[in-house]
Symmetry: C2
Subunit: 312 residues, 2 copies
């Protein structure tokens, strides 16, 4: 198994990424190899400082970096030797089994769709995010930003993708899928949700429990929260505010602690032909480590094969 990591991605790269890789190494089995993609000359001194033997990793040296503000498509095409471009090239050629980066989100999405491509049958891939549940454990919300405008059949597919993720990665049996809406009743919602609800009700592809509301994000009603990418993105950013606020104000709590993005490491892109995870821009070593371990879970559980089968 080869787990690819962009060591140039994120606000604190390459320091945070290399330190995260070192932390992850200790949790990996000997046959689970980390492949660091980026400027080796910058990575080596960081390892040396940690007295860490670089031979534990494989390196793919790159000379270019895509920064956070760059236009995704332009950057990917104009910087073929950037860590993101090279990462996706390796992933496409199956030289690595997964690829993750805390770098430019748009470039990650474009790179994924143009290299490993969308799973046949999937209309649009989704960016998912793990959400902490009040009682215990986590759920998954998707889409949180890849698709600002969605159609009912796209949302239906998000239900399938999210359900498979919740089952494989979060270990939830028959995950409850809820449709984010503005009322519990079937006849509530905007045109998109009104059209989506009956399709979800009719499907046998997942366990649909009906509409949920903004107040249900953290409770036990649904394990998989399906929404369009506009709503999901707004919700995610609003929820993050609260985490930041409770931290700023010094509120210590087990639930708010689980809010911490560092715990789950990143946002998997679901519906593409390989495990790809986008990390938070501000990822620290802990977040990078968990992103690597999440990549491993996506490989070992054969999530992608399950998704491909579901859409056959």
């Amino acid at each position: 198994m080869k787990i690819g990591l962009d060591i140039m991605g994120g606000d604190f790269a390459p320091n945070a990424t290399v330190l995260g890789a070192i932390a992850a190494f200790k949790a990996l089995d000997s046959h689970q190899k980390l492949v660091l993609i980026g400027d080796k000359d910058q990575a080596l001194p960081i390892m040396k400082e940690q007295n860490f033997n670089p031979d534990h990793f494989e390196f793919v040296h790159t000379t270019q970096t895509i920064s956070m503000g760059e236009h995704p498509t332009k950057a990917i095409t104009q910087k073929p030797d950037s860590s993101i471009s090279v990462g996706f090239k390796l992933l496409k050629e199956k030289k690595i089994d997964s690829f993750s980066s805390a770098g430019n989100t748009g470039a990650m999405l474009v790179g994924a769709m143009f290299s490993v491509k969308t799973v046949p049958g999937v209309i649009r891939p989704a960016i998912s995010t793990v959400v902490p549940k009040l009682k215990k454990g986590y759920g998954i919300m998707l889409d949180v930003g890849a698709n600002a405008d969605c159609k009912p059949d796209t949302l239906l597919q998000f239900g399938i993708l999210g359900s498979l993720f919740a089952e494989s990665i979060l270990g939830i049996h028959k995950p409850k899928v809820g449709l984010m809406n503005i009322g519990e009743e079937e006849e509530k919602g905007n045109l998109l949700m009104l059209a989506t609800h009956p399709m979800m009700k009719d499907t046998n592809m997942f366990n649909f429990i009906g509409n949920i509301e903004g107040r249900d994000l953290f409770n036990e009603k649904a394990d998989v929260i399906v929404c369009d990418g506009f709503t999901g993105n707004v919700m995610l950013k609003l929820a993050e505010t609260f985490y930041v606020l409770t931290q700023q104000k010094g509120f210590q709590d087990e639930f708010f602690a689980r809010f911490n993005y560092e715990q789950y490491g990143g946002s998997p892109i679901l519906g593409i032909n390989a495990p790809v995870i986008i990390g938070h821009g501000i990822s620290n070593p802990e977040a990078i480590k968990n992103m690597i371990l999440l990549s491993r879970s996506m490989i070992t559980t054969k999530l992608i094969d399950k998704i491909i089968s579901a859409f056959k």
Copy 2:
């Protein structure tokens, strides 16, 4: 001035409503008269218990009540002697200057639109909500549920309505209007926001400051937050969760305290020809009192006249 209040609306009516009216009475001038609409026979004993002279109020006795779960349009037409139906009749006949209720939201919206009607030129009225700002004071967000699907020109009008409210009621000079979106850049967003942004940029009806994101709800970027009713409703319910959570967990904080719906009393419907406020279903006496005082502000500041002028 006659301030109309539905004393049958809300989960704790008529107790909470009558107690709220008594509390508000003490803050009102002698020419500011409260008109209680509902079952007088239920109201009198509550006042008696408080040693409160019922003659301080005017009463309009009604015999029917619209409950929370009823279908709005059906309820309004089939219960002509309900407190909500009678309240809107009085408002239409100008026998009261404002009407507020913590009862059935849908019935309040339908009642408003069919009695006092939409201001000429306004495409769709909006339900607004006051949001606490981190530094100090409040902003306003609209729409939070009246319009699940919006068009760009509707959102543009929400900017005008919200701006007038922020100026008149919140006392903010040249309120900053932000468009809730998934990125700061003009080219970010769903089709609706992409079409709305340039219209807002071109308008001279308010002070447009550009796109804002989910994380900006409570900061100082915008005083008026414009969104479609679907997004606004989801955000509002999510934000309420956090207030409830911090309360449950015993986190004491000035900011979270200002989150309390009791402080601002209710959600004004903007874009109709009279001051109408929908209170939270769980309104307690404090919330009812503040809803009454907010009604008074909407009357004394002549907010409705300003709105009518703006759309002429």
